[in-house]
Symmetry: C2
Subunit: 203 residues, 2 copies
């Protein structure tokens, strides 16, 4: 059975983006510190273009995340930011469903078709599942979109890449998540720079 | 060289106490869920009275924490709450220095002398170090006291016992901690119920 998962970098004080996040500053002030561990990882660099980079435990976690995702769902803001920043070809290599309120034709790029969904989070997930070929569906983000799926009880696994930095302000993943959400620890992969914590949701 | 450390249970959404914490509800609503893993651990039960309990990885972490502490510093509120709740003998078995604004005679109990310090956090730490016999000093809490010591650059190690629960509201450890605090991951001990994350501070 195909699973639905999300995977986010998070600071020790709970932020997934720093303060003053916006179209020109998608991660917020200091937010790039949440992903510094990622930028050197081979599996990520292969998808982003530059190539090279490190393997190791973080590399395996990232490679596994790419491998398992047969389709993606993302929020409109994340898409708008990514549209200007993703390399050609985009890093997904699988269908992406974008939650939006205004219809738009699909955007076909090499290896990735972006389809706009105006019928809400259930419809987007159904469409993603239908084309995932039995693989899993990743709720890419941003945080608001992950929260919506968590609160709708639609997420099976939540992986947090916990980085020992403090951002002090910004966007907290769990603000607005129903505290009735039940999580069970599934796996921890520890590395010097980041601790990969994976939780399963329990219904 | 004697180290200064703190050790706190924390929810996945960053709380060290739930909402409505107060004298009659020291952990706040739901806050006991942060410590559920602890109540079954042998090393804790030995100090708290009932005996029995589990060893295992969490047991080793707790035993090590008790063993290394040659003296304690705690805030007045934590003391006031504990004074009514600790068993006889109290669990510390080492000198405890209580931060307070009004002088009071030392309170001598079996194995533990509580000394009240009105001269502030540096004075309390100096007094604790002086009697720790080369062992470490634990900043017991509460969160406000740990924050004061973190912001003063006086903490060498911070251990967080991360529990996969969401409290949704309450007291956040890192609210008010200067985000310039630099931390380096030192050790992770993972168990099914709790992930023990230890960080060193860098100056």
């Amino acid at each position: 059975m195909s699973k639905v998962f999300a995977s986010l970098g998070i600071s020790l004080d709970g932020y997934v983006a720093g303060p003053h996040a916006g179209p020109d500053n998608p991660l917020g002030d200091g937010g790039e510190r949440l992903h510094a561990w990622l930028y050197g990882v081979e599996a990520w660099r292969n998808r982003q273009g530059p190539g090279g980079g490190e393997t190791g435990r973080s590399g395996l976690v990232v490679a596994e995340t790419f491998d398992r995702a047969g389709a993606y769902v993302m929020g409109r803001r994340m898409f708008d930011e990514g549209e200007r920043a993703w390399p050609e070809p985009p890093p997904f290599r699988a269908p992406v469903f974008v939650l939006t309120t205004s219809a738009r034709d699909a955007w076909v790029r090499e290896g990735t078709v972006f389809t706009y969904v105006t019928e809400g989070i259930h419809a987007a997930l159904d469409q993603a599942r239908a084309v995932a070929h039995g693989k899993d569906v990743q709720i890419s983000g941003g945080a608001h979109t992950v929260r919506e799926y968590l609160n709708a009880g639609l997420v099976d696994e939540l992986e947090l890449h916990l980085v020992p930095v403090l951002l002090g302000d910004g966007l907290r993943l769990f603000d607005g998540v129903d505290p009735a959400l039940r999580l069970v620890k599934d796996r921890v992969v520890d590395t010097p720079d980041v601790t990969h914590l994976r939780y399963r949701t329990v219904r």
